[in-house]
Each structure stands twice: as C-alpha cells, then as structure tokens.
Point group: C2
Chain length 290, copies 2
DNA sequence: CCGCAGGCCTGCGAAAACGCGTGCATATGC
DNA sequence: GCATATGCACGCGTTTTCGCAGGCCTGCGG
C-alpha cells in the first residue's frame, strides 16, 4: 500500500474539477494520464476512489479524504515555492504582477515600461484582471488593488486615496451648463441599483439611460455621448473624451494598495518593482483626488 | 519552474540520508533514479540543489529549504495513510504490531496465535524490537511497550503493573540458601552502574561477575549458572532454568502498556487485536507481580 | 604500494508512462 | 428526430523513466 505523491496531487485535482478533462487541463497533462493515475492509485490502495458516472468521476469518501490532505500538501508546496522564489539576491527571473485593466491601461503603463527598462533580466508577466487573484497560491507575486484591505496573510502599502466624480462628453457638459434642470442621461454600472439621492434631489431630470457590466465599455459609452458617468477621478481626467460635470461632488472611493504575500514582500524582484511603482504613484497622488 | 511532488519527496530523502544510495534504498528505488530526479529538479528550478563532493551529495540552502517542506508534506501523508487505513469496517488487510522481543517470546505468543486464528483475513506483521518505533510515521499500527508513558499523540491503556526480583539457577539458589553471606556472583545489564545498595548491605559477598548488553543473553547466562540476575517477575518465573532467590525483594518496575496513534486506536483491526490482547493480559496480571 | 569499499557517472536495453486518435454513451438543443 | 457537445474507454505508437552493469575516483588499511 504505497501512494505516489504525484498521484495524491492528481486525486486532489480530480476531486476539485470533477472531470478527467478538467483535472488534466489543470495539471497540464492529457486526461488519459489522469485516468491511468487514478487507476494506479486505486490498485495501490485496493479501494475504489471514484464512481464512473455518465457525467464524470464522482469521488468516494476515500477520495475526498485524500483530496483534503492533498490540499494541505499543496499549501505546503505553495509556501515552499514562494520561499524559493524569494531567495536569491539577483534581479532576474520571472515576476508576475496583477492589477485592474483600467488602472494598467491609463495609469500604470509607464511604470511597466520603466521597470522593464531598468531590469531587462526580469521576465515580467502582467495579469490584467479585476479578479482578486490568490497570492497565496502564487497566481501572482504582487498585486495592485483597489480596495481598503490588503488581505489576510498579505503585506500591503497604500499608494493613493481616491475620489469619484461625474464626467461626460463636452457636448453633455455644455447642455448641463445651459439647462441644469433639464433631462440628463446617465450610464451606470450594472450592479448599481439607482442614482444617488443627492443627484436625484439636485438634478431631478436625471435618469438611468444605459447599464453596462464592464467599466471599460461604460466609459466608452460616456465618451460617445450616451450620458453622464460616475467614475474615479483619474479615469475621468485621463480619458480624452470626458470632462468633469458638477452633478456629483467628489466622493471618497476605495484606496489603491500594493500588496504581496509576506514571504515575497521583501524579495528583491518584488522590492524592485515597488521601487518604481511607489515613487510614480506618490508623484501622482493629486491626480486621484479633487 | 514546476516541481514534481515526487521530486520534492526525493530531495527530502537525499538531504536526510546524505547519499544517493541511502536515499534510493529508503525510497525503494535505484540510486541512479535518485540522481536523475535531482538533476531534473535542478533543471526545473534553475538552481543547484546539491554539491557533488567525494563523500556524497551535500545539500545547498535551497535543498535544505525544500527538505523542510518535504518533511511537513510527509507528515501530512502519514496522517492521510493512517486515516485511510482506519477507514473501512472489514476485518482484513495488513496490521503491524510491535513489542519487545522477550515479551513476545515469553508472554505474547499465545495472543498472536489466537488473533491469527480469529482473523485469518488480517495479514499480521510483528516487529519484535526494543526500539521505540514511530507510530506517527506508521512504522507500526499498535505497540506494546514497557514504559509508563503512552507517548505524545498516542492513545494508550495500561495492561499490567510489573515488579522485578532476583533469579538464579537452582544450583545458585541452593548455594545462597546454604551460605547467604558467602560470595555471590551477579550478571547485570551493561547499562547498570553497580548493584543496588540494599543488596550490598544485606549480602556483602555480592559482586558483579558479567555484564551483557542484551537482556536475552543476560538471562541465558543466568540460566547457565553464571550468576544471579535481576529481571521482571514474568521472565524469571517463565524461564525453566531460573528460580527466585531472596536477595532482592520485589521492586516496582515499568508498567506494560498498549498504545496506538489516536487516528488508529478505534480502527477495527486495531480494536480486534486489543480484544484478544487485553483479556489475556488481564487474566495474567498476577504473573507480573509478586 | 596495492587491494578494497563506498560513492558516483555513463550508456544501454527494458519497462512504464504518456499523448493522440477513434469510438461509444449520455445529455442538450434546434 | 437528428445534430452537437461533453465525458470517458480503449488501443497504438512514441517518449520518458527506470534498473542494471561497467568503469572512475577517493580514502583507508594491510
């Protein structure tokens, strides 16, 4: 009764994904190989680990037990890899950074360029996504987040405070100036239930014209003149097709933070990135507030 | 930079044993394979893990770091295997029991016979050794120990109290009875520094004649008439060539315990063994004390 | 000085593991 | 009712991994 560690790992992935194909993709191997490893593990244990059903592999209690321990072993591996990559004082090798798309596109691009120029030996991977990647699982080494909390086992540093305001195309801006009490179209984020009371009270002609579930599209719509948008100061100020309109006074918004796992915070590559990022953001602090 | 779990495990063994051959033996694989896995891991990490020296593989800091995490992963695997083997309500499969040689030879043999007869489906392995096997590492499922403490993460049950007394060949017994103040030879355990004060005081003719580092040999020497021996009651009473002599009054000695890891204590196979062991020992309690 | 043992590297052939393509079963949608 | 997508089993050929045997180096003891 001997169980290979790689088979334990495979069982964990299969329980997690629920299908041979899913586990294979996650492991970067062919699904046939997953099936063979399961068969081998079952033979080694003399126990059935999965029921072969029409819609996939259904784990037995034994498989779930193994998966639980595989999870813990995987956490241990994560920590090992973090510590390994934190070692070594050379500024070379891979570095993965994540940040929201719009922040990268309109604010951080110069930081990336400058960093690459300064450290050509570091292979920089940028994950532009609004998803909160799991830094414990090494989905990224460093994250720039729009959130007040650095997170659980993470170390963080505040880069900037932010405010939001209302922006619109120059055409809309002129119209509002001419007739503040007239009809005003807004384009809003899909999740937002309705316009703020303060707007409805001061500008009763306001109405929601469009909803979008993507901030980039939302901003394009505003630039195209579909209506007024509420967005962070830095976006409204940066986008060429938008000007600020006085419908909404500047409101406090989530701060911008840079965070990394405690194990990696002081690692040379991560520190080098911060050394470019932090001065840049410090010099642009005024850009994010009214 | 991807590291196979089996390679992590291999690195752990190599750091622990210090040589390819040792790690290979511990893993049950050819040492050439160990060398290849190390080479593969080094390539994957882009880092040297071992210095190839004349007297073996010397781990670098990185290898030691990996080995530390491999250790934790191995503990996790141990726990997994314990829990897996504790599952299942069938009385079949492997069971490993350890106990001191002399206890097995002179006291537990009937227990083993009876257990095998009762549960022929259970493949019983008996490790007869005075070494304290690590039950956490699954070196055995159940241990019978002569010690007052069940141990750390173990669950235990006292089987019997014990006393020691002095025994010798019938020849020596007669000689002592005839002339208690005459010269009396003792055979003692190598570790014991000298005869107890109580003996030297009441029988000043006592002297240490031989020392042995093995209890079995020590008893044989006493049976052969080389001298008086101090040993547990049950041994002196059981061995055909020995009779009790009044030099030493019965003294309290370490108790006999049965212990198992908490995870395994209630497992069917382990419980079944206790169900044979405990009544047997209970019925023989008087055998172990004066 | 030389044989020997421990420890390692290398090349070769066998064995195991792997990826791919094909085919089958079931569920889903038009 | 038929086409399609998902998910898996099986067989084949290839790649990788493994064990084995021979040889090299070093330190040790006769």
């Amino acid at each position: 009764m001997n169980l290979a560690w790689d088979d334990i790992r495979t069982i964990g992935f299969l329980v997690e994904t629920g299908s041979l194909a899913g586990a294979g993709a996650a492991l970067g191997i062919n699904y046939t190989t997953v099936a063979r490893r399961i068969a081998r593990a079952e033979a080694a244990l003399g126990e059935t680990l999965f029921e072969r059903l029409a819609d996939g592999y259904q784990p037995t209690d034994a498989a779930r037990l193994i998966a639980g321990h595989a999870e813990k072993m995987a956490r241990e591996e994560d920590q090992l890899l973090r510590r390994l990559s934190a070692r070594g004082d050379r500024l070379e090798g891979p570095l993965t950074v994540t940040a929201p798309q719009l922040l990268i596109a309109y604010e951080l691009a110069p930081v990336l360029t400058r960093f690459s120029a300064l450290h050509p030996q570091i292979e920089l991977t940028v994950k532009a996504t609004n998803d909160i990647l799991d830094l414990s699982r090494r989905e990224a080494d460093l994250a720039i987040r729009i959130s007040r909390e650095p997170g659980d086992t993470l170390k963080g540093m505040r880069l900037a405070e932010q405010q939001t305001a209302s922006f619109a195309s120059p055409d809309w801006a002129r119209r509002i100036e001419a007739d503040p009490q007239g009809m005003i179209d807004w384009v809003v984020f899909a999740a937002m239930p309705s316009l703020p009371d303060i707007v409805m009270h001061a500008y009763p002609g306001s109405r929601v014209r469009y909803r979008f579930d993507d901030m980039g599209v939302l901003l394009s719509a505003a630039e195209a003149g579909l209506g007024v948008v509420r967005c962070p100061m830095f976006l409204g100020r940066t986008l060429p097709g938008l000007v600020q309109v006085p419908l909404l006074p500047p409101q406090s918004y989530a701060e911008i933070w840079v965070v990394a796992h405690t194990d990696l915070w002081a690692a040379p590559r991560v520190a080098a990135f911060r050394d470019v990022l932090v001065p840049h953001m410090r010099s642009r602090r005024a850009h994010f507030v009214a």
